[in-house]
């Protein structure tokens, strides 16, 4: 119950959050930070047991007959992610409270971010792949709400939708992959799949399944060519970017690949696809960062680079690589979370995050500047920070790769050169140099906005100098989970001696500094502009073309079928019914006139006659009112039939519905023009044929139904159990509200939606017409 509870607690507080935001105002962020903090501390309590080699399983029955359980699996990898999610989340709550202070919509922020936090925690803890998928989709939905936080801006809405469509489509592909995977392995629990990796990789469906699952991971983790949504998502408030788009959500894809590496990995297909996509993303993303002067855009592209690096490492999958994954995930979360928050603080205080417009802020914002610089040094991979250890391990992993090591180390160095330059852009540009006068009086941010960067960047130093603090406790077990082995031999240290990786680091740093110095002219060079438009703009344009193509196809299709003429709809529906049902009826059943006319009472004949005459009258009526009245006669007569055949519930309902229909129609009729007779004889004949055929088919169906012997099983079951089980004697009602309550629920939902829809058509339709009139006038 405990792991489930940790997720549910956060979900529960999502609903409390808006109230805290409303009533605690200034302190709401600090108060709500206690939620992730307590969950963080609870998970931290698992460190001794997990580092001792234990894993925890917890399962709750959900949809047992489909093998879907709400089951959880806590090992080194899950624990590392859970700690990052709740740990960084704690500071995001504090930071968000400060960043959005005074925003009347802050409650919505708290709701969405806690909803996201719970979902993300669910993703990394879930053992059942369907449970994982549901949490995965929940992160997409909450991310949509968060990116679109400033919903009055078109750019926000567009970016939110873009992120949702890209990650959502990938998620659907992933679901298909998951289902194939569960068919191959015969289980939906990831922990039960570990032992079947051989069977999985030798299965004929392996490649197809792999591509589907990877599509989900690649879209979520912004791998090339799906990387464009991530810089777009920077339209979100900065606390969201710091949390979702650097530390947590975008790493869900990385998590998934790492989690499934023991099941799917190790094959040639896996190694090539994952390594190559990761390497391309790494180098493409890192250099795209240099094309921008917006702090958040620079950070976003360097995040793309980090995600590419992680993906490449997962593809390699050997000992150095898995170790590098664990260190890099933690290191990146620490420095990137801090840097995003710093960028947000700068934006918040200086009113812009364009590095061309700000400089020298260290004088007015010394605290923010200090921690921003520490985090940037970690990002640049400088000793003695954790980023250095991470980068060294990446180099080691690339050097000892089993597939084209020379190419990989080249792109890794190239990518890191750009990252060094990016670090300079985000740390040196805004804080050093001449102080520029700004419109807004710039001053140091409140404590809530520097405490997060402070703690995260100081942790980068501590873990960098004393790597054993994290190595034995969490990193080595996380790495072992990725590798699928119980223990690893590679251990962390700051100083490896003078080796190839260290020399490459020096080369990287010097080249990065050179790029930074010449950044201005480099950015404007034509070659670089071309690079940026090919790798940055083209995929986004491709997406937009695809989207607008889909929309125009849908529009054309809608214009064809939904042409707005009710009579055409009827024509389509009824013709289809006549053809398809008629065909089936004629070919599959023998229609015989089984019913005899002898036992029909005379008053039944009378009612039947009335119905037929009224029907005819409705068809021939010269005005709408007469037609409606005639149809009313049909309805009331049918309700008489219901009474005769002992269905009083139906009869009452029919009478009431007929009555209300008359009122409704009377209200509508006022707006409808008089019957016009502009229909041609040809179309009248066509309508008559289709109407006649429909009537004939329905009659034939009823006759066919009567020939089938009535099976009293259900009736008897309901009659016997209605009172005993459901405590009601009226079987009809008991079926409606108890035995088949789910059906009724679906129906009332339809009624509700229809009600809102009709209301909208009546009220808003008129408003829109008014608006159009106003604009044309």
């Amino acid at each position: 119950m405990n792991i489930l509870l940790s997720v549910l607690v956060i979900f529960a507080f999502a609903f409390v959050g808006p109230f805290v935001g409303k009533y605690a105002e200034k302190f709401s962020g600090w108060i709500l930070a206690l939620v992730p903090l307590s969950v963080f501390l609870w998970f931290a309590g698992f460190i001794p047991e997990i580092s001792g080699g234990e894993v925890f399983n917890e399962s709750h029955v959900w949809v047992s007959y489909l093998g879907i359980n709400m089951s959880f699996y806590l090992d080194g990898l899950s624990l590392l992610f859970a700690l990052i999610i709740t740990g960084v989340g704690t500071f995001i709550m504090i930071y968000g409270g400060g960043y959005l202070a005074g925003d009347p919509n802050i409650g919505r922020f708290y709701f969405s971010i806690l909803l996201f936090m719970g979902s993300m925690l669910g993703v990394v803890l879930a053992d059942n792949i369907i449970a994982l998928f549901i949490f995965w989709e929940l992160t997409s939905i909450s991310s949509y709400l968060l990116i679109g936080y400033y919903h009055e801006k078109e750019e926000s809405r567009k970016s939110a939708l873009q992120a949702l469509i890209v990650t959502g489509s990938g998620g659907l592909a992933m679901l298909a992959g998951f289902i194939i995977l569960s068919i191959i392995t015969g289980t939906m629990e990831i922990s039960e799949m570990f032992s079947q990796s051989l069977a999985v990789s030798e299965h004929p469906w392996y490649l197809g399944m792999l591509i589907l699952v990877l599509l989900g991971a690649f879209t979520k983790s912004a791998q090339f060519p799906f990387h464009f949504w991530l810089p777009g998502a920077m339209a979100a408030p900065t606390p969201v970017s710091a949390y979702l788009h650097s530390a947590t959500m975008v790493k869900a894809g990385v998590y998934l690949m790492a989690r499934l590496n023991p099941v799917l990995g190790g094959t040639i297909e896996w190694t090539y696809i994952v390594t190559i996509v990761g390497a391309i993303t790494m180098v493409v993303g890192s250099w795209l960062a240099l094309a921008h002067t917006d702090l958040k855009k620079v950070l976003a592209y360097s995040t793309v680079m980090a995600l590419g690096t992680l993906t490449m490492l997962i593809g390699l999958g050997h000992e150095y690589a898995v170790k590098a994954i664990a260190v890099f995930i933690l290191g990146h979360s620490l420095y990137k979370g801090a840097l995003f928050m710093v960028a947000g603080t700068v934006d918040h205080e200086a009113g812009t995050r364009d590095v061309n417009l700000i400089s020298g802020l260290r004088k007015t914002m010394p605290i923010t500047a200090t921690f921003g610089c520490i985090a940037a040094l970690s990002m640049a991979g400088m000793a003695p920070l954790l980023g250095f250890i991470g980068k060294e391990l990446v180099y080691e992993a690339a050097l000892s790769a089993n597939v084209f090591p020379m190419a990989l180390i080249t792109v890794a160095v190239l990518a890191n050169i750009a990252v060094v330059a990016s670090s300079g852009i985000v740390a040196i540009r805004p804080f050093f140099g001449e102080y520029k006068e700004h419109d807004k009086h710039v001053h140091e941010a409140p404590a809530s906005m520097w405490i997060g960067p402070a703690v995260l960047s100081v942790l980068s130093i501590i873990f960098g100098i004393l790597p054993f603090l994290i190595d034995g406790t969490i990193i080595s077990k996380a790495a072992a989970s990725v590798a699928g082995t119980p223990e690893l031999v590679v251990s962390l240290s700051l100083w490896h001696g003078i080796n190839a990786a260290l020399i490459l680091s020096v080369v990287t740093f010097l080249s990065g500094v050179a790029v930074y110095i010449f950044w201005n002219s480099f950015r404007d060079s034509r070659g670089f502009q071309g690079y940026s438009s090919v790798f940055g703009e083209a995929p986004r344009k491709g997406y937009e073309n695809w989207l607008s193509g889909t929309l125009s196809l849908a529009a054309a299709q809608t214009r064809f079928f939904q042409n707005g003429y009710l009579r055409h709809y009827l024509l389509t529906v009824l013709s289809f019914f006549v053809i398809v049902t008629g065909f089936t009826l004629v070919t599959k059943t023998d229609v015989v006139m089984a019913a005899s006319f002898t036992d029909i009472m005379f008053y039944e004949w009378v009612i039947a006659g009335v119905i037929m005459i009224a029907g005819l009258a409705a068809v021939l009526a010269g005005s709408g009112l007469v037609a409606i009245a005639a149809l009313g006669v049909v309805g009331y007569s049918i309700s008489l039939l219901y009474i005769m055949f002992s269905a009083p519930d139906l009869a009452i309902t029919q009478v009431l519905v007929e009555t209300l229909t008359v009122i409704l129609v009377a209200l509508v009729l006022i707006h409808i023009p008089k019957f016009s007779t502009f229909t041609s004889t040809a179309s009248k004949v066509r309508d008559a044929v289709i109407a006649g055929a429909t009537g004939l088919i329905v009659t034939l169906i009823i006759l066919a139904v009567l020939t089938v012997e009535f099976d009293p099983f259900m009736t008897e079951y309901f009659a016997e159990n209605s009172y005993v089980v459901a405590h009601g004697r009226n079987i009809v009602n008991v079926i409606l509200v108890d035995f088949r309550a789910l059906d009724t629920f679906g129906e009332i939902v339809v009624i509700g939606v229809a009600g809102v829809g009709v209301y909208g058509l009546i009220k808003l339709g008129k408003k829109m017409i008014h608006k159009e009139e106003e604009t044309t006038v």
């Binding site: 405590h727 309550a741 009600g755 209301y759």
Partner: protein, 137 residues
Amino acid sequence: MNSVILKTAARLLFPLLLVFSIFLFFRGHNEPGGGFIGGLVGASAFVLFAIAFGTEVTRKLLRIDPRILIGWGLFFALVSGIMSMMAGDAFFTGQWIFPVLFGSEIHLGTPLIFDIGVYLVVVGFTLAVIFALEEEN
């Protein structure tokens, strides 16, 4: 419509129809009636009143926007299902208690809450549409 007869009749019939709708609602479990039928009668009470006195007065009488009633109805229905889950049964499995009131045993169960939901949705839907149409004229 400005008719004295209609207005007088509506004033008298309105409470009668409402009581009748509640009667039908409770009756539904053992005899013909139930949330759907009760809801339709309840809605017609308000519709009649609206025809006689106009929608503005009727909306005030109803106090709550019919669209909100739809939401409450769905909420009640959903809650009745969730109560079953809380009790450890499948969604919408009826849960019953049998308190004794004035010497007779009463059957109270989640289907009753569900039926309240149906009632409210039906009333909300009918009134939302009819009021909106009337206000158009």
